[in-house]
Symmetry: C2
Subunit: 190 residues, 2 copies
C-alpha cells in the first residue's frame, strides 16, 4: 500500500503561502519566494526532488481552497492522476486532460479511502494546508516531505497549525542540503 504524503515548500517560519491567497496570487503575497528553488539554478538534488513527487504519486487529495485557486493555473489535475477534492459541496466529477477531479463531501477519511483505491501501490500526495492539517490531526498522514526555504515570511498560511495539542512523533528519514532549500523527509510514528 502506498503512503499518504504531505509535500510542501515551507519557509523556515512555517509558512507554505504568503497572506492574501487568491486566484491571482495562488501562493499569496510574496509566497512565490517559496517556489523559487524550482526555477532558479536548479541543482541535481533539487532536480531529483522536483521529479520525485511525479514518480511516486498515484492519487492526490486536495483541499477545496487549493483547488479553487489552482485549477486554472494547472489547466489539468495537479498531477496526471485521480485527484480528490475535499469539499462540503456535492458536485459531479470534473474530467481534465490527463485525469479527473472527484469531489468528496463526506470527510477526509472518505477522501483517503477513495484516493487509496485509485493509487494502488503508489503514494497519495496531499495538497493544501487545511487538508494536510486534517490528515495530521486524524493520524492519517504517513510521511512529510518538506523543502525548507531559507526565508522568514512573517505572515501567511502555516502548514503546522490547528493540529491539536497532542505531540506527534516523527522520524527523520532523509536530509538533502542545497543552497536554495533543505529537503527533509519525516516518517510519522504510528
Amino acid at each position: 500500500m502506498g503512503k499518504s504524503v504531505l509535500f510542501f515548500s515551507m519557509s523556515l517560519d512555517g509558512f507554505i503561502a504568503g497572506p492574501q491567497v487568491d486566484v491571482k496570487n495562488p501562493l499569496g503575497k510574496g509566497g512565490e519566494r517559496l517556489h523559487q528553488w524550482m526555477f532558479e539554478n536548479v541543482s541535481p538534488a533539487n532536480a531529483q526532488m522536483l521529479r520525485e513527487p511525479a514518480e511516486r504519486v498515484g492519487a492526490v487529495i486536495v483541499g477545496r481552497r487549493t483547488f479553487d485557486v489552482g485549477v486554472d493555473l494547472w489547466g489539468d489535475t495537479p498531477y496526471p492522476v485521480p485527484s480528490f477534492v475535499v469539499t462540503h459541496e456535492k458536485r459531479d466529477p470534473q474530467p481534465m486532460k490527463s485525469a479527473r477531479f472527484v469531489f468528496v463531501d463526506d470527510g477526509i477519511e472518505s477522501a483517503l479511502a477513495q484516493a487509496r483505491a485509485a493509487a494502488g501501490d503508489k503514494d497519495i500526495i496531499v495538497m493544501g494546508a487545511n487538508t494536510a492539517q486534517q490528515m495530521l490531526k486524524a493520524g492519517l498522514a504517513d510521511e512529510i516531505v518538506l523543502q525548507i526555504v531559507p526565508v522568514l515570511l512573517g505572515a501567511g498560511s502555516r502548514l503546522f497549525d490547528y493540529i491539536g495539542n497532542q505531540p506527534i512523533e516523527l522520524k527523520t528519514t532523509r536530509v538533502l542540503e542545497s543552497a536554495a532549500v533543505t529537503h527533509m523527509t519525516f516518517e510519522i510514528a504510528k
Copy 2:
C-alpha cells in the same frame, strides 16, 4: 566583532517550549521533549553542537520571562559570561557564581550594545522567544542556529512569531544531520 546568535531547539512545527511555561516547567508542558537530544544517545555531531555555544559565547541577552523561569534552574548565569536581562524594571546587577546579570530597562538595542561591549570578539547568544523576536524584527540578529527536533508539539511558544510581515532572507550555512535532531545554521542577510 562577534555575532548575535539565536540558538534554539525547535520542534518541526516551530515551538521552542510547550504551553504553560512556569518555574516548575521552564520548557512548558511537554517541552522537555525538545531538549531530549542533549541527554540521550548523544552522537558526536550532537556533542559538538552542545559544546559550541559555550565555546563561542562572550555575552548573553536573555528575556525577562526566560530569566524568571531559568535563574533558579541555572543556579548561575546561563553561560559563565555577562548576561543582560531585557526588562521594564530598573534593578541593580545581580552577581552570580561565574558572572553577573545586568538588567537593561531601555530596550533591545541598548541590551545589544552592552552585550557587544562585554563580549569583545566573541558571540552574543540570545535566549527567550520574545527577545529573539525583537532582535529579528529590529534587524539586529546575525545568525540563527536551530536544532530541529522531529516532533510536532501542536502548542506552545513559537520562535518565529510577531516578527512583522517583511520577509527576512537567510542563507543556509550549515546542515548537520543526526537521528535525534537536525542542526541547521542560517546567516541573516543584511
